[in-house]
Symmetry: C2
Subunit: 329 residues, 2 copies
């Protein structure tokens, strides 16, 4: 099987690549070939016995999509996007990459479909940013998309395109709306959502972290490992059961910041919790107030997608996957 | 005030033009200039004292949108579309006109906005085709868009774009989802929805009409006059109350085919009803089963949009507007 990952240099793309290399198969079929694409050339994975192609391609360029599908990958993971903050600041770039890039991919698949019946599985990563406040307590599967960012609008449009091209039989697509990834590995960043990860990741290694909102802020989370699990399940499950409703909110864990901190206390002790410094920031508070807090993702659960069981588990996954299984002494 | 109507040669566009000419004003401001655009040159309205420009333009052409907004109309009605059946048969044409045409219009407005602060009111006609079965008994304002046609997908994408460009302050837009127009004037056509109008319009003038579905089929209707009323209200109401939720299902009248026929009996008598010939068509039955039957358009009603009061009224409107006020002897 030939698997293409678009956006392979990003955090989720790297984790997905690692997992495919480790498993060596996808849904029972051996992964013989990996094509890894991103705007910067992705790293070659170590320890993969099959063939690997890595490419730097700008998906906004009309030449990129035909090149990406030229070797007819059976499974395509489309993870590439300009993130929310950047799409808000650079309107043209957001539409060029998040909308035109996606559409050009679909049209390149369509050209190959019409020429020779090529009909790949496409997994498109959408986002809970397709939803806009005000929300019900739990967002159910039939709630409407009224995004409050261009990124959210572009993801909602991508969902509609993936569904329509799938309905036409051009490809076999699914859009999965990922929760906020927590604990995001790496360095603290200035994204408005960064603190959800920072307040756990930094104290786990003895570093201070800033908490800009109150402890009763509630949000919707999934570990990187759960997110990769969603992608693999989406790539291998039978999709005809979705009928025309091919965009799914993924399961996740709804937790308050206070509950995150209690989990940190249980896993890493009071010393870690003391490294969280309260520094209220009304601007971040206002942004976060517009974000989803909780979901009732009944369809995804019925279809076998599984979320993390607890925030303790989310923290333990980070320790296993990023800290070699143990906290520093 | 300068008003631009894109899609002015279509049925709703012609009715809207007639109404603006008759009223002479829009929301209290005199209509001094009308620009009427369609893929075929629209007819010049009679009896208009202001200036009129009529143009044949293909909105799929990149040159069309800049030309349309070059004279900076304060109000733009965007009614142009490839209809459902044709967009289903010609995938490229549907996307070129319904998606690219709309986006090019928004981008032409954006260029003028950035150059000189131009920020027109834009009324975009969307459709109940953004919804796909299965439905609740009444579709409420927060129900999701899972279209089952490319036309519906293109309209749903248009809604997202109009909302996002409005959120950015580039224009002041609203998307209104029109019910099925009944009684559609003109000749019987082969659209799957044609019979809803045919079974009233033809018997009113002594002609036979074919009913391909059972009398318990329920659907969602508005008269041409009500549709024009929605457009005028959308063009003149304060839109800031919509916040980020700028797509609205319009009110309408939910009626079964049996209720339509009873109204025909009350208005035009048994002789008219006897001209309806039952000719069951399972193909049309299957298509219609996927269409919305009823709505709870709470927001639109609260915002002052008003529907027809009864099917008797819908039939009387047709007699007034299309048959000079009286049935043929």
């Amino acid at each position: 099987m030939h698997v293409l990952i678009i956006g392979a240099a990003g955090m989720v793309g790297r984790k997905l690549t690692e997992r495919l290399v480790r498993d060596g198969h996808l849904g029972g079929a051996a992964v013989e070939r990996l094509t890894l694409v991103d705007v910067i050339e992705p790293a070659r994975p170590e320890g993969f016995s099959g063939s690997v192609t890595t490419k730097a391609l700008d998906i906004a360029s009309p030449a990129a999509a035909p090149e990406m599908v030229s070797a007819r990958p059976e499974v395509i993971f489309h993870l590439a996007a300009i993130v929310s903050g950047e799409a808000e600041l650079d309107f043209d770039k957001g539409y060029a990459i998040n909308l035109d890039g996606t559409r050009q991919l679909l049209d390149a698949i369509r050209a190959a479909h019409e020429a020779e019946g090529y009909t790949p599985r496409l997994v498109f990563t959408s986002s809970i940013a397709v939803f806009g406040a005000p929300f019900p307590d739990k967002i159910d599967d039939a709630f409407f998309s009224t995004p409050r960012t261009s990124y959210g609008a572009q993801k909602a449009i991508g969902e509609l395109l993936v569904s329509d091209y799938s309905r036409k039989g051009i490809l076999d697509g699914i859009s999965i709306r990922l929760p906020t990834i927590c604990i995001r590995p790496g360095k603290p960043n200035k994204a408005a959502s960064g603190f959800f990860s920072n307040i756990l990741r930094e104290p786990l290694v003895g570093q201070e972290a800033v908490l800009p909102v109150s402890e009763d802020v509630r949000h919707w989370h999934a570990s990187p490992r759960a997110a990769v699990g969603f992608l693999l399940h989406a790539a291998t499950m039978e999709l005809s059961v979705l009928e025309q409703r091919r965009a799914l909110s993924m399961p996740g864990l709804s937790a308050t910041v206070g509950e995150q901190i209690e989990a940190l206390r249980r896993v890493a002790g009071e010393r870690a919790v003391r490294l969280i410094r309260r520094e209220p920031d009304p601007a971040i508070d206002a942004i976060v107030a517009g974000w989803p807090r909780d979901f009732a993702p009944k369809r995804a659960l019925e279809l076998g997608f599984t979320a993390d069981a607890s925030f303790d588990e989310i923290i333990r996954i980070h320790i296993e996957d990023e800290l070699a299984g143990a906290l520093p002494a």
